[in-house]
Symmetry: C2
Subunit: 346 residues, 2 copies
């Protein structure tokens, strides 16, 4: 396994910044929770976390451009009672949980200034929770003079997600720790990660609408339908698992039309699992109407992001425009090859 860019082991720093990319799930979200494979790609949008030591034993988390409840949060570590006030789905709770875990692993106290910046919508199904967790873990480790491997960061990132959400496949944390595109599978507590190399050859747009529910609640929704209509839903998940393997072949052989068709099928299967919404449907349809070869919700669903594959850059522009005209946020995305990175230290 690769390690993070070396920093002097044992050298304690006073300020470190790290960043991690967002990700899009191209195929297999939700089914991945049930042990099926998924294809996920890190994207060229990042979350940056800067940690600086404080001497007053207070933890101050600053989220200047992230709109969540509790935009500026101060936790008195002696009292600590204000942590309860946090939204379990909010960005701050991932940062807090990551800091808690990191201080257990790497020592040190949480008297810190934490500054979090994002160049993508948060909570949109683009892996911001994982990016924030992994970037925070990497930054804290560096502050304490450690250099965990990507594998270790991915694993700890998953632990943070499990602590905040109750469960996590670990897919997002792996995607943002490694960068690039991967085939991910989580079987019996073991993450299998295989790097894929189609990422620079596909042209993708993302459309975004506000989420009705966070990923953790979407996962519960599917779990409910899984319990109630078990024998049917097991087969739907089987279909998604098989589709992911077909999609892998299509991606690796540059059968972009096939990739688009499989995206459409995957979207229908997510729709069958009950995680689409009328607004997501509108984005999906508008994108197809504007020339996308395929479009599907990506991430947890119940709003959030839609990924669209385009045959060329002109179509990408048309798709982005059409989604914006329909009243939603849209942008092109490309593959991130770097994964989590240390950006500076002093």
């Amino acid at each position: 396994m690769e390690t993070l860019k070396a920093i002097g082991v044992g050298v304690i720093h006073v300020r470190v910044s790290a960043s991690a990319p967002g990700k899009i799930t191209l195929f297999g979200e939700h089914a991945v929770v049930y042990g099926k494979p998924a294809i996920v790609m890190a994207i060229n949008r990042r979350i940056r976390v800067e940690l600086s030591r404080r001497n007053d034993g207070r933890l101050v988390i600053d989220l200047p451009d992230i709109s969540v409840k509790g935009v500026r949060l101060t936790v008195n570590l002696a009292g600590g009672s204000s942590m309860e006030a946090l939204d379990s789905g909010s960005a701050a709770s991932y940062a807090l949980q990551a800091l808690k875990l990191a201080s257990e692993k790497f020592g040190g106290d949480l008297g810190l200034d934490v500054k979090i910046e994002s160049s993508m919508p948060v909570g949109a199904g683009l892996g911001t929770s994982a990016a924030l967790s992994v970037a925070t873990l990497a930054a804290y480790a560096a502050l304490q003079g450690f250099e965990p491997t990507r594998e270790a960061l991915a694993k700890m990132g998953r632990e943070v997600e499990v602590a905040v959400q109750g469960s996590s496949s670990g897919m997002d944390a792996a995607a943002v720790a490694y960068g690039g595109a991967i085939l991910y599978r989580h079987v019996k507590g073991d993450a299998q990660i295989e790097r894929l190399s189609f990422g620079e050859r596909i042209i993708l747009a993302v459309g975004y609408t506000e989420r009705v529910l966070p990923t953790s609640e979407s996962v519960k929704l599917v779990s409910k339908i899984f319990s109630k209509h078990n024998s049917t839903v097991i087969r739907v998940l089987d279909a998604i698992g098989e589709l992911v393997l077909e999609a892998r072949r299509a991606l690796e052989t540059d059968d972009i039309k096939g990739v688009g068709e499989l995206m459409n099928i995957n979207h229908g299967l997510l729709y069958a699992l009950g995680v689409s919404t009328p607004r997501v449907e509108q984005i999906v349809q508008v994108a197809r109407g504007a020339g996308a070869l395929g479009s599907k919700l990506t991430g947890g669903g119940m709003g959030g992001s839609v990924v669209c594959i385009c045959p060329d850059n002109n179509t990408l522009e048309s798709v982005v425009s059409a989604i914006r005209i329909a009243g939603y946020t849209a942008f092109g995305v490309t593959e991130d090859r770097y994964g989590v990175m240390l950006e500076g230290k002093s």
Copy 2:
């Protein structure tokens, strides 16, 4: 097997009218073509066919309230060349094919006046082709003094559909011949029909939008995706087959909420097979928004009808109104218990 209401065998008539109900597929359309079970119910909308002998060797088909190409068609049986001019999907071609088959089986010539009336939209996925075929077969048989069983009429009805469309599961012909609700399965050339008895306990609305493609073309669309993405689509069809069995249990135990959930899942799976359209999606969403417990496209798709299950009659009214306000045709439907019927003879 039951027989049609007895008419004197061997007594030749000069005028006979017969009718057959339309149907809605509650669960399992498309997958039924691949040997999976489906649940289908005859509904309280009918097609009536009246046959009267002519002495000039001409066949005149009158379709006063059916809007298809070739509303009034005259075929000179000596020449016969104008039959080529027919639309393969039009109502007239099912009547013609049924008459041709019936005259082979029951003798007699096709010097006839044929009057076809319908109390439901034609080509909407409501089984009008099968109803027209079966009613025509029954009327012609009666004219010649025969009384085929429902089983025989269902089988011949399928033959007519195969001749016109190229293929047919035989489900629609069985539903309209028998009436009531049935579990239908067509395996290795053999139709398995099981009568179900939930029909009078469910409250259903139908919304309708014009079809982009006829059923035969929708079936080809699925067959194309089946060939191209075989291993995935096989699993989607498996999921539908399993869902139908779950739905049967839910219907028979009056778990109407469960029936609705399964309708929504079934709709998602049909969407995954590529047979939904933006307008169908709109009807589906509007119905759910107005209180339907579940809604799905019914029949071949690519436009056509959406079936919605309601918890009570007030909700039925709200759902019908909401679909109409959105600009589509909508009406309540109930179970037809009679199937194909002779209505008069002289």
